[in-house]
Symmetry: C2
């Protein structure tokens, strides 16, 4: 490993220049006018992989933004590891809050400022550079390696749920390493072991054909807003427990070890409340805040509307009322099943004589959980211990990233989150940055982890 | 009376021309650009009163649109009757649905089409013409008469709640006749004896400082939409009974006679539902539809909003959620008291740890009910019986017109609704019209009623 590390050390200024070049491509996946920029980024990644010695590099169409694939498969008898990352970025609004133009990277105090620096160009490039260093110094990789870089992560990877199963053989592997994510702090490593899933729906309630005068008609038929709030209020008890029948049936209870791991993560109640600007926290009794955010399902109204919203009063009984609801899901809840349970609840609780429609909103995602003691996690843990000098926290994300669940279902392979962003790096916000130390640490860590994975037994 | 009636008969074509002239003034009170037109209408009314022989005619400032006052007070020892009406009109939108320009009156099949024809220029002019005919043919009026015509009825008479008490002596009277309203049908008279009152408020719930990610934070603190729907749902039981403590305390129960009077008004359940486009009617058990619409208080959400309202899903926990609520009130509920009771309920039912604000929305109105056997009503009933050949229905309006309550409080005088619009005349809608027969009937009816009122004993 020593030669590999010194190879990397010698090339840091060149690699930083390459990162800046990559960051100059405004590959915003959500904006159609940046579609060509996403393609340019795919080409840049493809070129860089080839330059690193990766074979079968190809820009593959998905129906949406392309995927970049590449591999090096000459480690006979050794495991196959697939490295995942994404070359698209979030939009830049509000652009006026940036200190520098978001796609003109600036290096300041050992940090690179640009959109996509931490999420995810710096992280994914580090993994490519690690593989290059191993190939250059050892003329071979310790394991078979595949790369899967996508250009649509920031819009929820809509095409990957078809693309990945359709390329099951090409992508087959024993383990996936995700270069999209991060650590707890500069001196505290973390292993991300879980993500919540998602399902979403819209309720539309229709009362009278048109808005009508609340004086003339008030009291004679059901106001659709009243029907809607009655339905929604019936979904939770005053303590915040979700009352949808069967909602918790598939929820895998937290084990004693998992609860210990979550309790070991420092939590500052006052700081958390201050950040949100709320007087109190609230939620399902019997669970800590992190347990609720990471390992318990939710049901949240994301939007509600109906009737008059301007100043003053308009005394109407509105014709229609609407709400958007989404549920964060945990293993082993299935989005489709939960959607059906919520629909059944709405049907059971809808007042009679009023028209209540429910429609699924696209974007369902499976929950994801890798066993904390999975061999891949054990290898990552050893690398973190070596690099940071301490054990990682076992943490989860309350949000939903569909790709881990898709990869697990399609390839029967778990994803180890192995990336080096930090929480203060303004991901999705103005003045996003990536620490140059993290960029270097990522390169070395990937070398060390790939080396350890040669003994992986799944 | 015979000479008075023949005087009117001889002048109908001239009076119709005058009505058309009055209708050409686009006196829309809600649109600032028509402020001068409202003044022009006030001047027209003032001139017409003088021409009719009314004294002390004056256009009086109110701080908003003016009032026109006038009187004839030479019936010594006789009651004083004040005739009320309004010379402002509703707006004309959607103007493209009108068959003719709304302020270019057209006479067709014995109807006058124009904005304000039925509401209220035709009706108020009829009362002036009646007084003119009495003065011209009898050289005196059977009672003392005052006129109070306003220019802000269509915007809720905001200045009258100050103007009327401030002119208590000038406006003092034994009875008010409102020339704003109507009859049941061409051959069925009606006495409007009640109006519901109104109070309105807005609830603003504030959760986190900004919208936050429902994945990262979902389950850890209270979503303000959940708090809002919980509060609103707590206000009514599933049968539609309002659960605000004390809400019904001041409600005067319907008497057996009142229930009989309401039951005597024909009601077609199928037609009512068809007009609304609803499958079922709904409301407080134990009351008929008209009883609920006319004599029972309501609590309606007129608008609700918070979070994401566009296509698809945005997985936020919104920072804020809002609702506008109004209550229709019945005697002897007081808007201020009901507002306080609703506030107290919200306070009692607001979940802890979240900021819930309540603010009054201007536009409160007292409920109004004139005893069905009030001497003024008995006189009107006798006129209706003479004109229509049958007893009137005793009906109420579910809506709120502040002026009756203001007049009762300030002058201690009841208002008898005595006007001749009909329900199909597209009031507040395109192609408003007034029947020329009703215009003539109104003139004669006012002559007959004023004559009867000389014996009024309050």
């Amino acid at each position: 490993m020593a030669s590999c590390i010194s190879y990397l050390n010698e090339r840091q200024s060149q690699y930083l220049e390459e990162l800046l070049e990559f960051l100059r491509i405004p590959s915003i996946s959500s904006l159609p006018e940046h579609g060509d920029d996403v393609k340019t980024a795919a080409q840049w990644v493809s070129d860089r992989l080839k330059c690193a010695g990766i074979e079968h590099v190809s820009i593959m169409p998905t129906g949406g933004h392309p995927v970049v694939y590449g591999d090096w498969l000459h480690a006979a008898g050794k495991p196959t590891v697939m490295i995942y990352g994404h070359f698209d970025t979030q939009p830049v609004d509000p652009v006026e809050l940036w200190s520098n133009p978001p796609f003109e990277p600036v290096v300041k105090k050992n940090r690179v400022y640009a959109r996509g620096a931490s999420d995810d160009k710096g992280n994914m490039l580090a993994a490519i550079l690690a593989v290059e260093a191993l190939l250059q110094t050892q003329k071979a990789l310790p394991v078979n390696v595949k790369f899967l870089f996508e250009g649509q992560e920031e819009i929820g990877s809509p095409q990957l749920s078809e693309f990945i199963p359709a390329h099951r053989d090409l992508l087959a592997c024993d383990l996936i390493l995700s270069a999209d994510g991060g650590q707890w702090s500069e001196d505290q490593p973390a292993l991300h072991i879980g993500l919540r899933g998602l399902c979403a729906l819209q309720i539309d309630v229709q009362g009278a054909r048109h808005d009508v005068h609340s004086g003339v008609y008030g009291g004679t038929f059901l106001n659709p807003i009243h029907a809607l709030v009655t339905i929604i209020a019936s979904m939770r008890n005053p303590e915040g427990r979700i009352l949808i029948k069967g909602f918790f049936d598939a929820v895998r209870p937290l084990t004693a070890i998992e609860r210990e791991q979550i309790a070991a993560v420092p939590f500052d109640d006052a700081e958390y409340k201050k950040n949100l600007g709320v007087a109190d926290l609230f939620g399902e009794p019997g669970y800590s805040t992190y347990e609720r955010a990471w390992s318990r399902p939710t049901l949240d109204v994301n939007g509600i509307w109906g009737g008059f919203q301007q100043n003053g009063i308009k005394t109407v009984i509105p014709s229609k009322a609407h709400a958007k609801i989404s549920c964060r899901l945990v293993p082993d809840q299935e989005p489709e099943k939960i959607y059906e349970l919520v629909c059944a609840h709405i049907k059971d609780h809808a007042p009679s004589g009023i028209n209540v429609e429910v429609n699924k909103i696209p974007g369902h995602a499976d929950p994801y959980l890798i066993p904390h003691d999975h061999p891949g996690n054990r290898a990552a843990l050893a690398v973190h211990k070596e690099l940071f000098g301490k054990d990682p926290y076992f943490i989860r994300m309350g949000g939903s990233i569909p790709v881990c669940g898709i990869l697990l279902k399609a390839l029967n392979a778990y994803t180890v989150n192995f990336a080096f962003g930090l929480m203060d790096e303004n991901v999705h916000a103005p003045d996003e940055f990536f620490r140059i130390d993290s960029f270097e640490r990522g390169q070395k860590a990937y070398c060390m982890l790939l080396n350890r994975l040669k003994d992986l037994k799944i």
